[in-house]
């Protein structure tokens, strides 16, 4: 083993420091953990569970005489101290900890206690709540530059432990790539690094990785756990919520290296900043990520209390590394966190606008939520320009244009085009607006005389999707009312609103004009401004005998429409109906017919127009059509029609209006639908909106029905430095809270964040309990290092990338991760970091790694809405309100990174659960790293991983036969294959090839898994290599960052 030349100087440091450390018993290091575990429950902060009025957490109290006259602790005199007597007594009734506690102290612990008292019983404030103090940085090792190595090295030297050698270059690059981007290096990147002999070759790689947009995606996985980001609300119906722009914000914050204090301020109080930007408002969505309910019968006050309490738990865990949870009901037993601290922290968020129950039930009225159902979003929200959507919008537009250009290029015979163009020119010269508003008739048919129940069942004969067609009422109709005639270009006044079962029909004498689209104009003042109408339209052609055949439309839109939702996704058209809130302006809507129609001489075009409000309207038709209903007769369209050339623009108009090239239209219409779902580059996102603060009381035992507790105002936690309190005149705000968190008064946020970052890169936090730096948490393994990192972070600009760079360029980080059997006695948990710690990849990166290796991962996109990978059928069945059908994403959305997976709190994707991803019901600072049969089953059989293996196999098969396995290892493990690994794999491939050659049907099935396809000259060979790649992707090395 090669030994780094940094041992000698550390020995010196170690020896210098040794004089004090061997004998002196330290309160924080030695005594507090014992007291916290065994004494404080009855003799600590919480007065309710205190026994014998004795508290040991405060020195002054511990030194006072108790009821019996005995003094718990007499400094310097252990034999006179009651505590020592009780620890050592053989009397079962007197011994401490007492029998009921089921706790005992070891002889060594008792001895420590005695020595501590003998040495004067010196207390120290809890380390995590003390102000930050700059430590002395130990001497740097020879040639060393990184202070981290000085701290780690000093401790190792003290124990006379040599650090491990540096990891191999291949492993080092794979480690850094996975840690910083969540993706492995490509073989080319590894080769480049191996070839780079410069002294700072590694640092250059680190800088490359830190600059990659993948860095933000990787770090977001950490923060989204902390922020409890999810796509659904969590309680009861677990409906969707609109919040993905917040995830984009987090990714972007890491990529642009937003200072952490700004990150904090924007999330907690972005809405309170002066003239907040859209980005800052989106960030404030953090406060809205608590679980919410829409359950009938839920009590508003109860749920507001639940939301408020959760927010305290999440904020205190995220920024203060402390567990406030217990204080909801009582003073914390082991920490100085008082019940009042819980509620004064909650009071900061009392202004966050939110409803206890997100629906307007008659027993719990929420008048502002009138009409809100299970498909509606969770207000308030902001409409925001979104980079991903904007990019996709442009991409799909370009794709549409290129589709038309391609069609143009293929257009050899222009006869049809020329004829059509001549017809259109003739039409336009007569109708320069592009619209024909012919004469016709209208009439209102009464409801057919059927039993009410039956009628109700038939009533919703609305267009429910793009291709639905008109349905004729089946029941016998009463005598038709006399139609009312109207002149060409006239407006029609509906006699009344159309009731259920009634039919308001407009017939038009359209003559020989082909009809490609239908337009309804509703002039200003048709109904009073702000009044509402619910409208549906369907079409048909009536022949001379009065027989009607339906005419389908494929897309409709209106200049003004109220949003309609399907599981919070806003519908992009009015195909399923048009909710109109009348503006103080003219309005129109256009329906694009599926196929243009022309009426025969004795036929009439008919519009069945259902509107619950009596409108004034004008009906027109046009031989023109377009991708966009609202552009059929727009000025720029009309001028395009004058262009006699066959251009991409004119070909588009031709295809849409003529409607004959169905193959092309199918593609353009699908693309149009996708394009419209980019919402012109905008997205909605939940935000914080400040409102009049709710009254916050201390709730005795957390009971929301108990209003006897005192009303509290926002106050920073009483046990932390820099206390800030509200006054009668000035109520502190969330912004004040953020400012205090970011202030130099506050020591704990920097400690919390540095400890967590350390865990990401070294496997264990310096204090192993990432979510509790309180007295039940662990004293850091290297307190001075954590202190130094925290100061460096807080006082030098909260620079996240700088701190990460510092960590990953340290020699400590770069060591081999092979654990050290020689240290099993001295350092069984590798807390001294004489080596790196191996770590299984987080759930998202297990996925990303496999798809990346396979060449399937979509890395062109960053951000955007959540996607739905393959998921076992029926998994969402026990969900209701609304019922959920999971439809796996098509196209490149299927292979997006794990962090974009749809996060259904109630039914998290099984792959994510199996690899320990949290459901994010609440703040999670530490995931567990389990190793289970479910993980094996997932990697073996989940279609995502089978598809990845097949795609990887296809990548390998294009290479010369001798290069394939080698490249497989470079892809999956980031290293060359070892000779010993080869023979057995080659044997497997040979056997599998033989098997699939004799079982071609099996081969065909295996290589078909997934939506993607691989070209296979020889299906048996592809199937056999798929098996080999399954082996590689299932190997422990592939899913572990060494």
């Amino acid at each position: 083993m090669r030994v780094l030349p940094l041992v000698a100087p550390f020995l010196v440091v170690g020896l210098l420091g040794a004089a004090e450390s061997t004998d002196t018993v330290r309160f924080n290091r030695d005594i507090r953990p014992i007291m916290s575990d065994t004494c404080f429950h009855c003799h600590g902060f919480d007065p309710k569970s205190r026994k014998g009025s004795l508290r040991l957490d405060i020195r002054d109290d511990a030194l006072k005489a108790g009821k019996s006259g005995a003094i718990a602790i007499v400094p310097g005199k252990p034999d006179e101290s009651e505590v020592i007597k009780r620890l050592f007594t053989k009397d079962e009734d007197d011994v401490m900890p007492n029998k009921e506690s089921h706790k005992t102290l070891t002889a060594a612990q008792k001895d420590l206690f005695r020595r501590w008292v003998a040495q004067g019983a010196v207390y120290e404030p809890h380390w995590a709540y003390k102000a930050l103090e700059a430590p002395v940085v130990p001497a740097l090792p020879t040639g060393g530059k990184n202070p981290i190595d000085a701290f780690i090295g000093a401790k190792l030297a003290e124990k006379k432990i040599r650090p491990s050698a540096e990891a191999s270059k291949e492993r080092l690059l794979r480690r850094a790539s996975l840690d910083l981007t969540g993706l492995p290096p490509t073989p080319a990147e590894t080769a480049a690094f191996l070839a780079d002999g410069s002294a700072d070759a590694y640092e250059k790689q680190v800088d490359r990785l830190l600059a990659s947009p993948r860095f933000g995606e990787r770090m977001a996985v950490w923060w989204l756990d902390v922020a409890r980001f999810a796509d659904t609300v969590g309680y009861h119906g677990d409906q969707n919520q609109r919040i993905f722009p917040y995830r984009d914000y987090v990714i972007n914050a890491f990529n642009t290296n937003k200072p952490f204090d700004v990150f904090t301020r924007e999330q907690l109080a972005g809405d309170l900043l002066p003239n907040p930007t859209e980005e800052q408002l989106v960030a404030s969505g953090y406060n809205r990520l608590n679980m919410m309910t829409r359950e009938g019968g839920a009590q508003v006050k109860e749920y507001l209390a639940k939301y408020g309490a959760e927010r305290v738990r999440s904020v205190s865990n995220a920024w203060l590394g402390s567990t406030f949870g217990c204080a909801e009901c009582h003073d914390h037993k082991f920490d100085p966190i008082k019940s009042a601290d819980f509620y004064t922290l909650q009071a900061f968020f009392a202004d966050v606008k939110q409803w206890g129950v997100y629906a307007d039930y008659n027993y719990t009225p929420e008048p502002e939520l009138k009409g809100v159902g299970n498909d509606h979003p969770f207000y308030p929200e902001v409409r925001t320009k979104n980079a991903y959507r904007t990019k996709k919008d442009a991409e799909f537009r370009a794709e549409l244009a290129s589709l038309y250009a391609k069609t143009l290029a293929e257009q050899k015979d222009q006869t049809d085009f020329s004829a059509w163009q001549k017809d259109i020119a003739a039409f336009l010269s007569e109708h320069p607006t592009g619209l024909l508003s012919p004469a016709g008739t209208f009439f209102l048919k009464a409801a057919p005389p059927v039993a009410p129940a039956k009628m109700a069942a038939k009533a919703p004969a609305k267009n429910t999707d793009a291709t639905s067609v008109a349905k004729k009422p089946a029941a016998k109709k009463p005598a038709a009312p006399a139609p009312v005639a109207f002149a060409a270009g006239a407006t029609i006044k509906m006699p009344k609103g159309v009731a259920k079962g009634e039919d308001f029909a407009i017939t038009l004498n359209t003559g020989a004009t082909p009809i490609a689209s239908v337009r309804i104009d509703i002039p200003k003042g048709s109904i009073p401004a702000d009044s509402a109408a619910n409208i549906t339209a369907r079409f048909g052609i009536v022949d001379a005998k009065g027989k009607e055949r339906p005419v389908a439309f494929h897309l409709a839109d209106a200049t003004h429409r109220e949003p309609r939702y399907n599981s919070t996704f806003e519908l992009t058209d009015i195909n399923a109906g048009w909710s109109l809130k009348m503006p103080d302006a003219d309005v129109h809507a256009v329906w694009l017919l599926d196929t243009p129609v022309t009426t025969k001489a004795d036929e009439k075009f008919v519009i069945h127009f259902e509107s619950n409000a009596a409108l004034t309207l004008k009906a027109s038709v046009s031989p023109l059509s377009h991708d966009d209903p609202l552009k059929v007769t727009a000025p720029e369209t009309l001028s395009s029609h004058k262009d006699p050339r066959l251009t991409a623009a004119t070909v588009a108009l031709f295809l849409n209006s003529r409607g004959t090239d169905r193959a092309t239209l199918e593609k353009t219409r699908t693309l149009t639908t996708t394009l419209r779902r980019q919402y012109d580059g905008y997205a909605w996102s939940m935000v914080t909106q400040a409102t009049k603060p709710l009254t916050v009381r201390v709730l005795p035992r957390g009971n929301f029905l108990d209003e006897t507790g005192p009303v509290v105002l926002p106050t920073t936690p009483s046990f932390l430095p820099g206390l800030r309190t509200s006054t009668e005149q000035k109520r502190l705000t969330r912004l004040d809270l953020a400012d205090w968190i970011n202030s130099k008064d506050n020591p704990i946020t920097a400690r919390t964040v540095m400890n967590r970052l350390w865990q990401i890169f070294h496997g264990t936090g310096l204090s192993a309990g990432l979510d509790d730096l309180g007295s039940q948490g662990e004293l850091p393994s290297h307190p001075e290092l954590l202190e130094w990192l925290s100061l460096e972070f807080r006082d030098k600009g909260w620079d996240v990338k700088k701190m990460i760079r510092l960590m990953v360029t340290s020699r400590t980080y770069r060591q081999s991760s092979s654990l050290r059997p020689d240290l099993k006695e001295t350092d069984p948990n590798n807390r001294l970091l004489a080596s790196q710690n191996p770590r299984r990849l987080d759930a998202e990166f297990v996925r990303d790694n496999a798809l990346f290796v396979a060449g399937l991962l979509n890395i062109a996109d960053v951000g955007g809405p959540s996607v739905k990978p393959y998921q076992p059928e029926g998994y969402y069945e026990p969900m209701q309100f609304p019922n959920r059908t999971y439809v796996a994403s098509k196209d490149s959305d299927q292979w997006r990174r794990g962090l974009y997976m749809h996060w259904q709190r109630m039914y998290l994707h099984p792959m994510l659960i199996n690899f320990d991803a949290p459901s994010r019901d609440e703040c999670t600072a530490l995931r567990s790293y389990s190793n289970t049969p479910q993980q094996a089953l997932t990697l073996l059989n989940d279609p995502t991983f089978v598809e990845a293996a097949r795609a990887m196999a296809a990548r390998l098969l294009v290479l010369p036969a001798g290069d394939r396995l080698g490249q497989g290892f470079r892809l999956a493990m980031g290293r060359d294959i070892k000779p010993a690994e080869r023979p057995s794999l080659e044997k497997l491939i040979a056997a599998q090839t033989a098997y699939y050659k004799t079982n071609p049907a099996e081969a065909a099935k295996l290589i078909k898994v997934g939506f993607s396809q691989s070209l296979a000259a020889d299906p048996a060979e592809l199937a056999a290599w798929t098996q080999a790649c399954r082996v590689l992707l299932n190997s422990h090395e592939a899913i572990t960052r060494y």
């Binding site: 029905l705 309990g769 050290r820 076992p872």
Partner: protein, 478 residues
């Protein structure tokens, strides 16, 4: 016991290295030899199936639990708790003295009226236990039951009430009852998950149920409940990919094991050995699930007894038979959710459907276990997350938490008895009141666990299923 501590667990990964390394020697040769042996996994399997309790705290009365969760909240006043006074008040104003200041769900801000029980009660079995007339099969096993008529819960909405009933807390991340049992006692099978959940839905009164209810929370995911699906594959990812048969799958797993063995030669990482063992266990599960799902060995008579129309149709009846098969195979916790009981309206009809869908299968399961001698060490719990109000809500009843009924049967239960009582209107539990923590404490006690001592360290606290509360209800124990 040594309670699970996530922090210590994270750290112990390294410590485990030395243990396992010493178990199979540090040399690669020894590893390879072991890896080559088919019994390799057995070396490690023990560590997965063992619980944290080295030996039981208390006498073990039951080895496994079958929890028939009647999701939605069945009405105690129709089923278990006969209230003639309430019947006499039917349609009249409900006395405010009962309801003032109490939590109310959908009846908030409405006029409260008494609703008498819809069905007759009769005396069943030798014990003469008074139960509903309309559930003859459950009535038929009355002498095996202990009906608790004085249960109280704290949460009045489905989602949180389930959370409270399963985990003893509404704070997210608390392990469910089944996870606690697996954690404390370990599993008795290596071929199947130790905690299995099945769901079914009735024809009315459905409410959603969250997979959170069988989450292991802060315990490692190996303690989570594994949901058997009624559609598609029974267990997620249990089936081989299309075009891969069991023997080719075996070859793949063998090759994975060889590669992992080679990795272990040069890298000291205990997780490698664990990984190898997990693949063996996964393969065993893959092999044993088809046999489990194959009901061919069940006689036509058995199917008829349970009222199974079609095997594996996802019905409660089919799930009950599956529960017995799982119990036979050593599964520690079997939880059946039947979503059918949220009868805010149409209660009478809902009860008739319940009689058809639930009564027969429940009775059959208890009898079947008894005939096979398994009822003695199987603890059955039948009940909902809450009961339903003595006040009417149209043609139904609202959610009710102040007093309701569940029943237990089997291992260690005082059979043929009732315990506790509600007041004359069936509103408040007033005699021998049992809360959910008490029920948990009692169930743990029957399984040989002192509820005070089954802890997990989390965020610096000792978390328990029963929180700081819970007392063992001796009165329902034999």
């Amino acid at each position: 016991m040594r309670p699970y501590d996530p922090v210590a667990h994270a750290l112990s990964i390294n410590r485990r290295s030395f243990l396992t390394k010493s178990a199979y020697g540090l040399g690669s040769a020894a590893f390879a030899m072991l890896a080559a042996k088919s019994g390799f996994s057995d070396l490690h399997a023990a560590q997965f199936s063992k619980g944290v309790l080295q030996k039981p705290d208390l006498p073990v009365k039951a080895k496994r639990v079958i929890f028939l969760c009647m999701a939605g909240g069945p009405p105690h006043l129709e089923l278990f708790d006969n209230k003639p006074v309430l019947k006499s008040l039917h349609g009249q104003a409900f006395p405010e003295s009962f309801t003032k200041g109490k939590q109310i769900a959908q009846l908030q801000n409405t006029v409260l009226k008494a609703r008498g029980g819809s069905f007759e009660f009769k005396k069943w079995g030798k014990s003469g236990m008074e139960l509903t007339d309309i559930f003859p099969h459950i009535g038929g096993v009355a002498d095996d039951l202990c009906v608790v008529r004085s249960l109280k819960t704290e949460q009045i909405n489905h989602d949180t009430a389930h959370a409270f009933f399963n985990t003893g807390s509404i704070i997210k991340g608390r392990p469910s009852m089944g996870s606690w049992l697996l954690y404390g006692l370990g599993s008795e099978t290596e071929n199947l998950p130790g905690y299995i959940v099945l769901t079914s839905a009735g024809r009315t009164g459905q409410q959603p149920i969250s997979s959170r209810q069988w989450s292991s929370g802060v315990l490692p995911s190996k303690y989570q409940g594994i949901q058997f699906q009624s559609k598609g594959e029974a267990v997620h990812y249990i089936g081989n990919p299309e075009g891969v048969c069991q023997s080719t799958q075996r070859q793949v797993i063998d090759e994975i094991r060889r590669l992992n063995g080679q990795l272990a030669e040069e890298t000291v990482d205990p997780e490698i050995a664990t990984r190898v063992a997990q693949y063996e266990m996964a393969f065993k599960m893959q092999s044993s699930v088809p046999e489990l799902l194959d009901f061919k060995s069940e006689s036509a008579k058995t199917l008829e007894n349970y009222g199974i129309k079609e095997v594996g149709d996802g019905s409660f009846a089919s799930n009950c038979l599956m529960a017995r098969r799982l119990a036979e195979r050593g599964v520690r916790m079997i939880q059946l959710y039947h979503r059918a009981w949220d009868l805010h309206g149409g209660l009478d009809n809902g009860m008739k459907m319940g009689a058809e869908d639930v009564d027969k299968a429940t009775g059959a399961l208890i009898r079947d276990l008894k005939e096979r001698g398994m009822l003695d060490d199987t603890l059955i719990l039948w009940g909902g997350e809450f009961g339903r109000t003595p006040m009417g809500q149209g043609t139904g009843r609202d959610h009710h938490i102040a007093g309701y009924s569940v029943f237990l049967a089997g291992g260690g239960i005082k059979a043929g008895t009732t315990y506790g009582a509600t007041d004359e209107l069936g509103y408040n539990a007033v005699e021998n009141v049992v809360d959910v923590h008490d029920l948990h404490a009692t169930m743990l006690a029957l399984m040989g666990i002192d509820h005070h001592r089954l802890n997990v360290k989390y965020q610096g606290l000792d978390v328990r299923l029963t929180g700081v509360a819970g007392k063992v209800v001796k009165g329902i124990m034999a």
